[in-house]
Symmetry: C2
Subunit: 505 residues, 2 copies
């Protein structure tokens, strides 16, 4: 152990990945458990990342013709019951409001009072409440399409929670659209999957596989569910966003009908799609390292942190003035069309402590400035992603800062893509599949294998049996793969195509 | 009746103000009642106004040193009980979660199941849950101040609801700060009141009186509550934002302590402050007229709408091309440092219907363009606020559009200020006070009077008696008034100063 380089995070990824994840969150001050079971507090640094995600996504939604609105937090219990699969999917994990006040109880404490005639469910998702409004708004084909998104909190009473990845309350956006034709609704479902994939790859620097879920992994009530799947650094899969084609299931359950151009009454076709604060968890697990958080520049609350270094008051005033000037110059530079976000940390704490503070929080570029640097017209620059440090001329750094951020962003994507490629395999026999997903050393990493692309037969019972044994799941049937004939490696039956398999969050 | 000019909204403000308000909301498509008791759906046009409010406020909060974060939706019942006045204030109107799933009941329908050990309250406000985190985060004076804001939904089980003004669920921001000294917390309370007043007057074009609430109108648990009070067009007062100095009440109840520089353990001093979607209601009631919504340019989702006018296909292509060009030119102009927001409405509906659609939605400037205008290089411009219309040269309009928007913004403020000044009176006798607030004709307007500034004695029981009879409330003790001796007009006792009185929402 003594020979290993010291890391800021203990344990390391290799030692204990789930624990490493918690420690990255803690040391970057992103979030914290709350006194409310399964709910977390998102702290300012974590919130800024989510806020940046929201900003980019919101712009993408508006550019694809969507508008925002807001629907109630509560759903009458009877609404949930209208779509059979939907209620089946959510009834087991929902917060139920049964009373509307508190009053003093027999032992002096408070007790719930004012029972409601009909219990209200805290929304786990809003298809039913939004659908009930669409049923009122849609009369004629002229009222279609409706393309609305909402930013909201939702609650699913999860028994096993993990910060950002699975919490009882989480924040998300949910798009709900309503169309005159099946074709148009299918196009929308696919368009929003593309928006999510674009966001994941180009903003989060996280490569994803676009695919369709198998029946058992579908959204309750959907005809089909499209997904983007990412590989985390422990080689597990994470479902990062889904886009559902709901067919006429919800419009039939809720009576969303319109008169078409010929005067005939038709049921509308609906879609829904969402991403959540889970993406912050995905971001952490995709890029961070054994020194803590790494944030791609496009989502970083601060791009550059300036760290003034001095030993006495005389040096202090010279260094701070130089740093002030540098900060101004940097703010005049742009990255992605917007001013560079620069902070200066002139707190009176030890230099080492201060440096590690920003390493653990993942600021993409650190710039240290001491009296010697000033004499030489230099700054000492460090990249968070590579750890690379070097003294460069101040002028050069100022003019190059946007370019360096661009490099960091693309280098993070390349690194994540390489991890996925190195850990993806085409597998054509059950033996190889079993071996791939069975840890050699049970005491070592919990995970073995990565993504396997294999022929399977969706209806064959053998598939679920083997997957269950190995704790592997069908991630998706990729959208962009070539159709080829084959044999299901689980059942020996004719294949319905290849799917991607993996252990998952 | 036949002689009155036709208005787009029926009834008019003079005929039935509360009903006029509902009709303005409906005809501008801002919001709608939902199937959930007391909850509303905020529709896209209404949401855009709130989104614009959020954008400006969020910038103001950040500029004054605050950061955003997010705390849980649920509050354990025992947390609420810790501060006696606080629970007294909210226990009677809160949504209580008692179960965490649904299961089939005896008659086949669903029933709540999985009872919680401790009921959870859907947050009516977050002092207690946020305070419980601050108690963990604060150890030393070095950890202070904490200046956090959150954008969130809250629930108060109101018995009588009115769209935007009072709804069971509403959206707001709540700032919660924690300080080492009383002085600093008082400064923060006052600073945020100033931020709200600045926002109300300079962004919403709504003049407000800054003042302190009397004891009976204070936030439950606060030492003092500062408020901004606005006058609506029916001369009723609307509390538009509040900033609370909580003293050490919550830090004692929740044990938020820190070690000061001398090593002594001290209780922290806290504040909280909030504004909500109620501001959208205030905006509507301040500026709208008998033709519908009027939006000040700084908050308008669209500044300008272009309405192409043509009679046949040949004209159509010429007019649309001209309008396209005009739209591009306008978007290159700026208002308040940002590009002018322009929409073009080329829907195939009748010109009159289209024009009234945008009047009712309150777009500040309408521009009609027909073949004749194009020949003359003109556009036909109308201002929503004054109704003023005239043909102007296209070039002049393009270069002047920012200036016109600035004029509209300030003219709306002036008009609202004039209304308040015309309906505010200094009153020094009880007879005059009674007469001022008593309708001459009971069948006419519900409201009589406006704001009265009168001497009163806060502790005298006579005050509440008269106010109760007249259905008048103490709005606030203005912060900027001169101290002067006087006699309480209600009790004849020595006055503690003048307060502003009015009927209120």
């Amino acid at each position: 152990m003594g020979k290993q380089p010291k890391t800021a995070i203990t344990p390391t990824r290799a030692e204990d990945y789930p624990q490493w994840y918690q420690q990255v969150i803690k040391s970057a001050d992103l979030a914290e458990v709350s006194p409310v079971r399964g709910c977390m507090v998102i702290k300012p640094w974590g919130w800024s990342i989510w806020e940046n995600m929201q900003g980019v996504l919101d712009r993408m939604f508006k550019d694809t013709g969507h508008v925002n609105a807001y629907f109630p937090l509560f759903i009458p219990m009877s609404f949930l019951e209208k779509e059979a699969e939907h209620v089946e999917g959510f009834a087991k994990e929902c917060a139920v409001v049964t009373h509307h006040r508190l009053e003093p109880g027999p032992d002096g404490g408070l007790v719930p009072a004012g029972p409601l005639e009909e219990p209200l469910i805290v929304r786990p998702t809003s298809e039913t409440i939004i659908g009930s409004m669409y049923a009122k708004w849609v009369q004629s084909y002229r009222d279609l399409p409706i393309k609305i998104n909402q930013w909201a909190n939702v609650v699913r009473w999860e028994m096993r929670t993990r910060m950002f990845l699975r919490t009882t309350e989480f924040l998300w956006q949910e798009g709900h659209t309503c169309h005159a034709t099946e074709e148009e609704a299918l196009e929308e479902t696919r368009l929003m999957l593309d928006v999510y994939a674009d966001f994941a790859e180009n903003t989060m620097a996280m490569p994803v596989i676009k695919g369709e879920k198998t029946a058992d992994e579908r959204f309750p009530g959907a005809v089909s569910t499209l997904t983007i799947e990412a590989m985390m650094q422990d080689r597990k899969a994470l479902q990062a966003g889904t886009s559902h084609f709901l067919g006429q299931n919800f419009s039939r359950a809720q009576d969303i009908t319109y008169q078409d151009q010929a005067g005939e009454l038709q049921h509308a076709w609906t879609t829904s799609w969402g991403v959540s604060t889970r993406l912050v968890g995905a971001l952490i697990m995709t890029h961070s390292d054994d020194d803590g958080l790494v944030i791609p520049p496009k989502l970083a609350p601060s791009h550059v942190v300036i760290l003034p270094i001095y030993k006495n008051d005389e040096q202090r005033s010279v260094v701070l003035e130089y740093c002030d000037q540098l900060q101004k110059q940097l703010k005049e530079q742009t990255y992605e069309g917007e001013p560079i976000r620069v902070i200066m940390d002139d707190r009176d704490i030890r230099g080492g402590e201060k440096k590690w503070y920003h390493i653990k929080r993942g600021v993409p570029i650190r710039v240290e400035v001491g009296p010697r640097d000033i004499e030489n017209g230099n700054v000492f620059m460090s990249r968070r992603d590579t750890g690379e440090s070097n003294g460069v001329s101040r002028d050069e750094f100022v003019t190059q800062v946007g370019t360096i951020l661009t490099e960091i962003q693309s280098s993070l994507f390349d690194q994540a893509l390489k991890l996925r490629e190195d850990n993806s395999r085409t597998i054509d026999t059950l033996d190889e599949f079993r071996e791939y997903f069975t840890p050699e050393d049970k005491d070592a990493l919990e995970i073995h294998g990565g993504f396997a692309s294999s022929h399977f037969c969706e209806d064959a019972p053998e598939v679920q049996k083997v997957l269950g044994e190995l704790k592997v799941t069908t991630r998706c049937i990729p959208l962009d793969q070539q159709q080829e004939p084959g044999t299901c490696i689980f059942s020996g039956k004719p294949s319905t195509g290849r799917a991607v398999f993996g252990k998952s969050y």
